[in-house]
Symmetry: C2
Subunit: 283 residues, 2 copies
Amino acid sequence: MIVFLNGDFVPEEEARISVFDRAFLYGDGLFETLRISNGKPFRWAQHLERLQHGQRFLKLQPPFGVEELETFANELLKLNQMREAVMRLTISRGTGQRGYTTKGTERPTVVMTLHPVTSRGPESSHAGWRLQTSSIRIAATDPLAAFKTCNKLPQILARSEADAAGADEALVSNTDGYVVEGTSSNLFWIEKESVCTPPLSIGVLPGVTRAAVFELCDKMGLPIRETVLTAEQLVRTEGVFLSLSTLGIVPALELNKESLAQSPLIQRIRAEYCGLLRVETQR
Amino acid sequence: MIVFLNGDFVPEEEARISVFDRAFLYGDGLFETLRISNGKPFRWAQHLERLQHGQRFLKLQPPFGVEELETFANELLKLNQMREAVMRLTISRGTGQRGYTTKGTERPTVVMTLHPVTSRGPESSHAGWRLQTSSIRIAATDPLAAFKTCNKLPQILARSEADAAGADEALVSNTDGYVVEGTSSNLFWIEKESVCTPPLSIGVLPGVTRAAVFELCDKMGLPIRETVLTAEQLVRTEGVFLSLSTLGIVPALELNKESLAQSPLIQRIRAEYCGLLRVETQR
């Protein structure tokens, strides 16, 4: 496997960064995880837009422009000859002086890696996920919740709880007690033939696939509603699904081992999403 | 400079880790920052105890025992011939499969680096710090607040705000509105001849130097009280100081550009702390 590292293409065993890199020391960086289909990154522009938003927030000066990064990404795909894959793009603040100040930080570190598309869940076709609520609470007011940062210990802890319970994904709530999202996915549910999801304002990561679901519902004439609910209320809805860039739309089979209803809308949205992925990456 | 990396001693420019290391990807690790004085780590046992507590919480299996690490630390100090320094010890979960699950993670990465003791503040003798409140709120219920993890973006953001305001350290409050600590220091204040500090339960990092202040107050016959207050109330106390391993006791000169009272107790505690450091590292 060839890895992109700061402008170079290197074998993965040579893809190494300094122990003084601030992403290693403090998680001082951002990342994006993109689906590669038919050899093309799906929704590249949307992922890069979110990344740039985060870069402005963290005052991170990227050493490459968006077009340059896209050229590098395509070269990486060609070198590895991967048609179906997951790409991770990481931008770290790089090295600087010891401590939390960002004064005197130098050139950011940019890494792109490719990974196989792996499903998880009870069937290899990822028919659906078993969900588990977690004890982790994110601060409803956390400004960092809006960005895909390299600070992911809350998600790692929540996912560990799900793993221990034999589930596939953990649901994280905020300090107000409302369900926010999965550790690596946005949350949707069906109620009275409407598609519902928590609003970004309660600490939701603005997922690129979440935005695609909004587009699809609009196209399909399905009402979409941003609202809040608790994990207990989620069990009584007409169906629950997750959205994420790597796997698209994943129906939820159960929550804390209780079966969830399976609204037929979920499979319709899933089929539309697969169509969108196909159309946009065949161009 | 020689760096300790996974059992080897290597020049700093060769001290490199994989781009797949989970501390780089997710901040999935822990660290300690120790003061080295007279060529000896100060309060090594206390730092290692906190580290082990964190390792148990994160289910991180360290590849080296505590005695082994101490031998490595002493060897590192000898190789670099540093008598006065700051040591950073980092333990990352190492590499594993892509994603937040910790299943299949391999050997943790262990790094020790040495750094010069740098003061910050208006005078090189760090006579005191100018403090600035920050917009960052930590969740009062965050279980991770008790550990020195590699997820430090909230601290980095808060410190950036302080830097922008020309201050030396930022104060962070919790979601209940109470002041918790500095970004790299614990907070104390003097009220009615008592030494006060927020209780660990509101999201305070259990600082090794914080614990030393408790010991010293006990020895000096000073009453110590764990209580909460807001940043506004802090300005009206008899004095404010910070504690941190690298610099010990640092008086606060001002908060949001308002001058703070200078209780003589602060200099007495500071002198006692310097004595403790000297005595324990002369042995």
